[in-house]
């Protein structure tokens, strides 16, 4: 019988979250191809929006894919290239970052950046109050970073918590470390840190420990890196919680797409994965010791 080719286009593993995403994609490929001999998944990784647009062209022109699972580098620039794939007749599953024209996609699987920011802020409010000080370390200036940040700021507003400053730490441990060091030398009184991403969190933790200020503040990260989840599970006081932004969503998307071809009914719709707060109680269910992330 005919091989069904499904293209999977994702950003390259340039930082922790994307690394996790790449890992989950590769695992899902192995699992799905083993379970469905007539399915061929082709994973391509891109270094930027233009590069990803090229990948999409190649998936169509060289591989002749019947379906596409795509995590767009950026929403707007990839909308037209994905539309072109759609026009070639392929089934489209969009992951994480929505296209500007949602009518293109057949399936949408996503984490929720707004909720992530909101959940983080809600937790801050449970621990801190009027007159307490926090600092924020952001990712790379992009839409999803802005979504998280804006949602956080909206939620924190009116709580009386002072946001001392926010700086970009580029979803990078080294930058997290250095930016936090500088926050520490700048502000004598910090009660909480929103690091937004677990790579950044790891850098922040080291900076705080090195400055010996780990007793006076706590850190909220994000994404669900296994080291952090493990810490939460073990009752770490410096990083007491984490907010999930699951890299496994790519596997979900691939599952759903394969299901469209191998199950009976057509698959359609949106699968929005929530951003639950990971606490000591529920941490075990978010812990993947084999994942690199």
């Amino acid at each position: 019988q005919d091989q069904i080719k499904i293209g999977v286009s994702i950003p390259a593993a340039t930082h922790g979250f994307m690394g996790g995403l790449n890992w989950h994609a590769a695992e899902a490929e192995k699992r799905l191809e083993a379970a469905n001999p007539n399915i061929d998944l082709i994973i391509v990784t891109a270094d930027g929006p233009a590069d990803q647009a090229s990948d999409l062209e190649d998936l169509v022109s060289v591989h002749g894919i019947q379906a596409l699972v795509v995590l767009p580098f950026e929403s707007e620039p990839l909308t037209e290239p994905v539309r072109a794939v759609k026009d070639s007749g392929a089934f489209i599953t969009v992951v994480d970052r929505g296209l500007t024209d949602p009518s293109i996609q057949d399936v949408y699987v996503s984490g929720n950046n707004t909720e992530m920011g909101k959940v983080s802020a809600e937790y801050m409010k449970t621990r801190l109050g009027e007159g307490d000080n926090i600092v924020i370390l952001r990712g790379i200036p992009t839409v999803l970073d802005t979504e998280r940040f804006d949602a956080f700021m909206a939620e924190i507003e009116g709580s009386g918590i002072n946001v001392l400053d926010n700086k970009f730490a580029n979803w990078n441990r080294d930058d997290g470390f250095e930016v936090m060091q500088d926050f520490l030398s700048r502000f004598p009184d910090i009660d909480g840190v929103w690091a937004q991403d677990d790579d950044i969190t790891l850098g922040v933790v080291e900076a705080v420990k090195a400055a010996g200020r780990d007793k006076e503040l706590f850190i909220v990260g994000g994404a669900g890196m296994k080291e952090i989840v493990k810490g939460v599970m073990d009752g770490d006081e410096l990083v007491p919680v984490d907010v999930l932004y699951p890299p496994a969503q790519i596997a979900t998307a691939m599952d759903v797409t394969v299901a469209h071809f191998v199950s009976n009914g057509p698959v359609r719709g949106s699968y929005i994965l929530g951003s639950p707060l990971i606490t000591q109680e529920n941490a075990a269910q978010f812990y993947f010791p084999d994942s690199p992330f």
């Binding site: 390259a12 790449n22 270094d47 233009a50 060289v62 992009t142």
Partner: protein, 340 residues
């Protein structure tokens, strides 16, 4: 006894010219064979059109870079400059749409501002390098940061998107073909030919080589060194703006991720093409082939699944080194043969 020098010279010369083009070409052909053997679809018309269209961006920018490098300079800012120009173009076109509605003039306005920005940005690089007497590396590293920041700032950390009705009009510039050849490829061809003529058939090209080879000599030969150097940066800016004009309709947006690392790719295309990084010797034809080689490598990596995605960069690195080695090798072999 006076052996007429130029007569004996002739055959050697045409032979040498063949070799010059042959070097990078050999590498490109080898790549094509690899590509075809991995997946015959590599040589399908659609795929070839894709490769050519894609290489147009880097290729056009690299043609400009050939002049800068030949004259002994370097421009690290081209990628950010492209992002910046794309961003400003989009802002201008969007406001034009708001004010006057959509028409072909919207696009022309955008293209016009792109050209002006490119020339201006190039001039700034050139001016700081020549009159400010600051190393080109530092100047363009600085402007690289500046342009990238500015586009992030304009986009408020997000993406600047072109108004969709303007995009409708603008879209064909990237996606349409004339005589079955995509428009970006036509632009690339035109830029390459003009670049080649400029480099090899005008005094300007000679001056670039002379300056890159020995600035004193150029100065003593009454060449206006600063002016020519500035002109190379302006030319570079112009090329960036042309590349941006065909880039914007492709993705219809600009953000801080636009054009990241293009500078490295452009310089690599130039060097793979046989131009010397230290200046003095430039080959526009080689640059074009260099850009094709780089694009083809990326394309070939998408053709097959035999290599872990994580190793893409490694394969790319090996191929680039091998391609240049092959090219230099065939050149050396050729020279040896010529000497016999």
């Amino acid at each position: 006894m006076s052996v007429s020098a130029h007569e004996t010279g002739k055959p050697g010369r045409s032979f040498r010219i063949d070799l010059k083009t042959a070097g990078p070409l050999v590498a490109l052909i080898a790549l094509c064979i690899i590509g075809y053997s991995l997946n015959p679809a590599f040589l399908s018309e659609g795929n070839i059109a894709n490769i050519l269209t894609r290489s147009a961006f880097i290729g056009i920018i690299a043609v400009g870079a050939t002049f800068v490098i030949t004259a002994g300079g370097i421009d690290l800012s081209v990628g950010s400059m492209a992002a910046f120009i794309a961003g400003v173009m989009i802002i201008i076109m969007n406001s034009a749409v708001e004010a006057f509605g959509v028409s072909i003039w919207t696009v022309l306005l955008g293209c016009g501002s792109s050209l002006i920005l490119g020339i201006g940005a190039g001039f700034i690089n050139g001016f700081l390098t020549t009159k400010g007497k600051i190393e080109a590396f530092i100047v363009t590293l600085g402007t690289m940061g500046i342009y990238r920041s500015l586009v992030t700032y304009f986009a408020d950390g997000g993406t600047l998107s072109l108004n969709s009705s303007a995009r409708e009009i603008y879209r064909p510039i990237y996606y349409d073909s004339i005589l079955r050849i995509p428009i970006p490829v036509w632009v690339f061809i035109a830029v390459a030919i003009i670049g080649w003529v400029l480099m090899n058939r005008t005094a300007f090209g000679r001056y670039c080589m002379a300056i890159g080879s020995n600035e004193h000599v150029a100065r003593y030969s009454a060449i206006k060194v600063d002016r020519v150097k500035t002109a190379t940066y302006i030319l570079q800016g112009l090329c960036v703006s042309l590349a941006t004009i065909i880039y914007v309709p492709r993705l219809g947006s600009a953000s801080s991720a636009t054009g990241v690392l293009w500078e490295l790719e452009a310089i690599a295309a130039v060097i793979i093409g046989g131009t010397m990084l230290k200046g003095g010797f430039g080959r526009v034809g080689g640059t074009v082939i260099g850009a094709l080689i780089l694009t083809a490598i990326g394309n070939i990596l998408n053709l097959t699944e035999i290599i872990s995605n994580y190793l893409n960069g490694a394969v790319q690195g090996v191929i680039i080194i091998a391609a240049v080695y092959l090219q230099r090798g065939s050149l050396r072999a050729g020279k040896r043969k010529a000497a016999e």
